[in-house]
Symmetry: C3
Amino acid sequence: MTIKISIMKEIKAFIRPNKVNKIIQHLKEEGFDNMTISMAEGTGKFQDDTAFVSQKFSITDSEIAKLEIVAKDADVDTITSLICEHGCTLNHGDGIIYVSDVEKAYRVKTGLENGE
Amino acid sequence: MTIKISIMKEIKAFIRPNKVNKIIQHLKEEGFDNMTISMAEGTGKFQDDTAFVSQKFSITDSEIAKLEIVAKDADVDTITSLICEHGCTLNHGDGIIYVSDVEKAYRVKTGLENGE
Amino acid sequence: MTIKISIMKEIKAFIRPNKVNKIIQHLKEEGFDNMTISMAEGTGKFQDDTAFVSQKFSITDSEIAKLEIVAKDADVDTITSLICEHGCTLNHGDGIIYVSDVEKAYRVKTGLENGE
């Protein structure tokens, strides 16, 4: 039996939509080019300063952007620090970042296992 | 070498959109306030009772809501039970819940590693 | 102390939106029926051949479809190979696939822990 040590990490950040451009700009300046953004809705403590009425669910109260980026373990601290530095307003609802293991990564173009 | 024991878990639930409000309401009543909801499209066994025609893909056949919540390991059973109890209709297509490890969590506001 | 060996995997593929139907069709032909698709926006190396102007963020430059599928460990290679085979154009921006561990899976309908 071998114990697998993951060296790729997935960073998932739930951030204010109006901070997305600034955060991505700074990530790109540091060489992190590959990421995706999608929109979600949040509840409770994510509540934004401005009122938000979901067209879909009566119970959500804020719009949240979800940033997903996969990176080398060694880059995780740099990336999370950049997101916090450029994503914070010091108000409630600035969001949360989660880091998880990625076991394998493949390029669709080549089919090769290669996280880069 | 140390073996890391994760104490934070990510719960990802694919549920019926018309069950979202009820499920979140019950989660909040139990003190779980932080979660996000987004919309996705599903195939096959997720098929809903009512017909669904995607404007984007011809091959998907149902709308699915995706609930994401990160919680302490000790709370996972409570949360998954609430989602099943209030999300089930006993028909096909009630959805699925997945639990995964989260290695670290940070607050964007403070930059501190702190899942709470 | 026991070391948990995960046997369920989450496959997350960021693929070209115009490849979604073809990829899902082939996955279904091989018996993989349960998956979800959602739309996101990407940056940089995901850049598509055709220009894309996001209505939401000035910094993203491409539309990406996100395919999520949970499968048995033994099926991961088959699934990722199918996605690469039917998702590639041999151009930049074909996308990336990530594989991660899933600790537990439940059916909402029954509440039972059962990844199938």
